[in-house]
Amino acid sequence: MTAVPLGLPRRLVEFTLDGETVRAPEGSTILDACRAEGKDVPTLCQGDTLTPKNACRVCVVEVEGARTLAPACSRRAEPGMSVRTDSERTRHSRKVVLELLASSVDMSTTPGVAGWIEEYGAEPGRFGPDAARVEEDPKVDNELYVRDYGKCILCYKCVDACGEQWQNTFAIAVAGRGFDARISTEHAAPLTDSACVYCGNCIEVCPTGALSFKSEFDMRAAGTWDESAQTETTTVCAYCGVGCNVTLHVQDNDIVKVTSPHDNPVTHGNLCIKGRFGFAHVQNRD
């Protein structure tokens, strides 16, 4: 018989969400409570396997009595607090944040963002044609994955996944300051000269497509990338005995990228180089 971990029953916190009384387990964020209630709050820097940096600010909500808006992804629900997720103030900030982002980086591969831009009436073009953008050429410096920081929103997820939250490799960090801040290796060295072990856990969490498999990058460049023609098969990685789950994305009989289910209690979406990139050998038909 396997033991089912129950954990301590958590107390419930009662608070007001858009005028309705709701209860959420103690320690929940406002976002957790919103999702439990079926409310849609946009998020970019929040991810299901990481502690969010609350840097993007697209999830802001209005907490009654607070001077500023609060990030739903990080602020914990407190008893008696009154939260509005859809007030004019929150809609305004979300709209402007989306405009600021979409006017400064390429969000064409960020899932969900086009819908929010429409929903909030954001007009990224209104800062004019001379609005400063993050101009970066894609960094293609290894065979496995590409870093295209012209698409990066600086959500910090890759840094956290590479560093103390998962991989403990610390190959990348944020360098520079303000608008010039970039995700970087030391001295912006090529990945091949860095500490990177090609686990690809940064790609797994990147919300914008700034980090992508070289296979995906090349196919997009060639115009052959077609998600609708892809199938996903989740299986167990065959390389070692840990038993990580891998999801193979297949297009035209070729594995085009590998992800890992985030809800796996052992790996939480993390893999190593073999599980992530070892598919080449499966495809080696010679």
Partner: protein, 602 residues
């Protein structure tokens, strides 16, 4: 953690700079004997400093970067790799930290660096001419945000790297004198004494500034002869709880801008069960137009040391950190001297004044980042991380420096504690004063001390206001403008708030009608764009969009500016509402007040 340090090697000089700070390496693992490829010894194989022991030294990263930059003038790949090896810090992270600070360079540059201030007060007093003169003379220089020398604007700071680095302050600066100082910084004349920045020096009725000019700032005996260390004695007589009660009853609130009750902050820190507790003195005075803390530290440095000791005793801390902005070389020298003297005389150390209380103070230098004045960014900076603000809650009193309960106060707040104790809470409250930094178009710029309740007009009367005043910027770049007809605003936290403006950190920058307001606003916007840490979107991109809009309308008014002003309002509102910290939240304040109160671009 499996660190990868690359192949770059330090020069002998870089290695010496780091080893002077950290001591020689002890094992092949941290770049000691054998690490050059000659092989690890028996001893190395049993040597381990990973995990906790390694992380304990992470806070030496910023001092290490300073050590190299001070010695060589810039930080090479080899130097950074060596420092990382010594401290077991991942190089990518160290690179991220080093590139955060504007005083460091990761590229080769000359050993002598000239920082020419082009910020508000200096711009109002001819910084442009200085820069043009330097360019004409072929002197390379960096345009710098406020150097905190506004009373002597325009100002320049010359830093020459070397085994004993040399600095020279030239203020008021003419291009010729700056060029001369850049050539031979050691020969630049001495700076005027701190009291020269205090037009009221020597007058009766001063509380916080009474010793500035009256004591020899190097002499502990002189400090004691002028009432020094009576507050600490009283504190020991009262005990920590009663000290906090006294400070609470005095009604003292923080002078950094947020005006939080100091007694409550101390109580909240003291009562935390987690330990150790830390005391932090925030001397990262970087708000453009602010220089009062510098004058206090230069004119009465022992007062800062004594006040920190009192505060440390009250909150149950045994270690205090004084975070000093990197642009204050003279204050650094005076404070270092004060600490040495105080230690030698048993006023710091294992047994302060023979009372069985252990307390010592460490100075940490900033390296050119306004945001490090935000207390949680300051903690990150001390800990060896990028100076990015943390989200609150948790608040510092609960999880501050090194994640421990921390009381953080700025210099002015702390030195107020001395009269609270020597005079008693009631007498203190009856005559509470505030320091103001007056600069710009006045005949007697400097630090002024006035009782709470004096009006802006009273202050400008003392400082000698210009005949044709256009506006006054209250509270610095994060503050707001007021009009010449608003001179009866009382200079209190409540009074300024009621008038729809802010006292902020006490900046009073006076502009006469020759000033081009759009240029001042553009300079403010550039400042925020430069100083944004980059963490959150509203501030990182919003400050850029704000600057772009102000640049577009620099020469426009009326209908031609309307669209951009609407855009500014929208971006400004999102920055204020959705930014993580005070920098982004206030980045639009001054521009908004110029539009609404002064009718800029109308």
């Amino acid at each position: 953690m499996d660190l990868h340090f690359g192949d770059s090697r330090p020069t002998d000089e870089e290695r010496a700079a780091v080893d002077t700070l950290l001591g020689p390496p002890v094992s092949a693992w941290d770049a000691g004997p054998g690490s050059d490829g000659s092989g690890r010894s028996e001893k190395d194989l049993r040597w381990a400093r990973g995990g906790h022991a390694a992380r304990e030294r992470r806070d030496l990263l910023l001092p290490g970067l300073h050590a190299v930059n001070d010695r060589v003038g810039w930080i090479s790949e080899g130097a950074l790799a060596y420092l990382c090896r010594r401290l077991m810090v991942p190089p990518a992270e160290a690179y991220g930290v080093a590139t955060f600070y504007s005083m460091f360079s990761l590229r080769p540059r000359p050993t002598t660096v000239v920082h020419a201030c082009t910020d508000l007060a200096c711009a109002a007093r001819g910084a442009d001419r200085v820069c043009a003169g330097l360019e004409a003379a072929g002197v390379s220089f960096e345009r710098s945000p406020c150097l905190g020398l506004c009373e002597r604007a325009p100002a320049a700071l010359v830093v020459r790297a070397g085994e004993s680095p040399v600095t020279a302050v030239v203020a008021p600066a003419a291009a010729g004198a700056v060029a001369e100082a850049a050539r031979a910084p050691a020969d630049a004349g001495p700076e005027p004494v701190a009291a020269d920045a205090v037009p009221q020096a020597g007058q009766d009725g001063l509380v916080l500034l009474r010793r500035v000019g009256a004591v020899d700032p190097y002499s502990l005996d002189d400090y004691r002869a002028h009432g020094g260390y009576t507050a600490l004695r009283r504190a020991f007589a009262l005990g920590p709880a009663a000290v906090i009660r006294e400070v609470t009853e005095s009604g003292l609130v923080g002078r950094g801008g947020a005006a939080f009750p100091t007694g409550r902050k101390w109580q909240a820190t003291a009562s935390q069960p987690d330990g150790p507790h830390y005391l932090v003195c925030n001397a990262d005075e970087s708000e453009p137009g602010t220089f009062k803390d510098r004058v206090v530290m230069e004119g009465d440095p022992y007062a800062v040391v004594e006040a920190m000791t009192v505060a440390g005793y009250a909150v149950g801390a045994h270690r205090g950190y004084l975070y000093l902005r990197g642009e204050y070389p003279r204050a650094l020298g005076l404070l270092e001297n004060a600490l040495t003297q105080a230690r030698a005389r048993g006023l710091l150390g294992d047994d302060v004044l023979g009372q069985g209380y252990a307390f010592d103070i460490e100075i940490r230098r900033g390296a050119g980042a306004y945001i490090c004045g935000e207390e949680t960014a300051l903690f990150n900076s001390i800990e060896g991380y990028r100076g990015e603000p943390r989200s609150k809650p948790p608040f510092p009193v609960e999880k501050g420096l090194f994640g421990k309960p921390t009381a953080a106060n700025n210099v002015e707040t702390l030195v107020n504690v001395l009269p609270v104790l020597t005079r008693g809470a009631e007498a203190f409250a009856a005559a509470e004063t505030k320091l103001f930094c007056v600069s710009g178009s006045v005949s007697r710029p400097g630090v002024y001390e006035l009782p709470f309740g004096a009006t802006l007009g009273d202050l400008l009367e003392l400082a000698g206001k210009p005949e044709r005043m256009r506006a006054v910027l209250l509270g610095g770049a994060a503050g707001g403008f007021v009009r010449p007809d608003e001179m009866d605003i009382p200079l209190t936290f409540e009074g300024t708030r009621a008038a729809g403006t802010t006292l902020g950190s006490g900046v009073v920058l006076v502009l006469d009608d020759r000033v081009e307001l759009p240029r001042i606003l553009l300079r403010i916007a550039e400042f925020f764009r430069d100083e944004s840490c980059g963490q959150c979107v509203p501030c990182r991109v919003g400050t850029v969009r704000q600057e772009e809009a102000l640049r577009r309308i620099a020469d426009r008014t009326g209908a031609a500016a309307v669209d951009d002003i609407a855009l500014l309002r929208e971006v400004g509102r999102a920055m204020r509402d959705a930014s993580i910290c005070g920098l982004g939240q206030t980045a639009w304040n001054a521009v908004e007040s110029a539009i609404d109160r002064l009718g800029a671009y109308a």
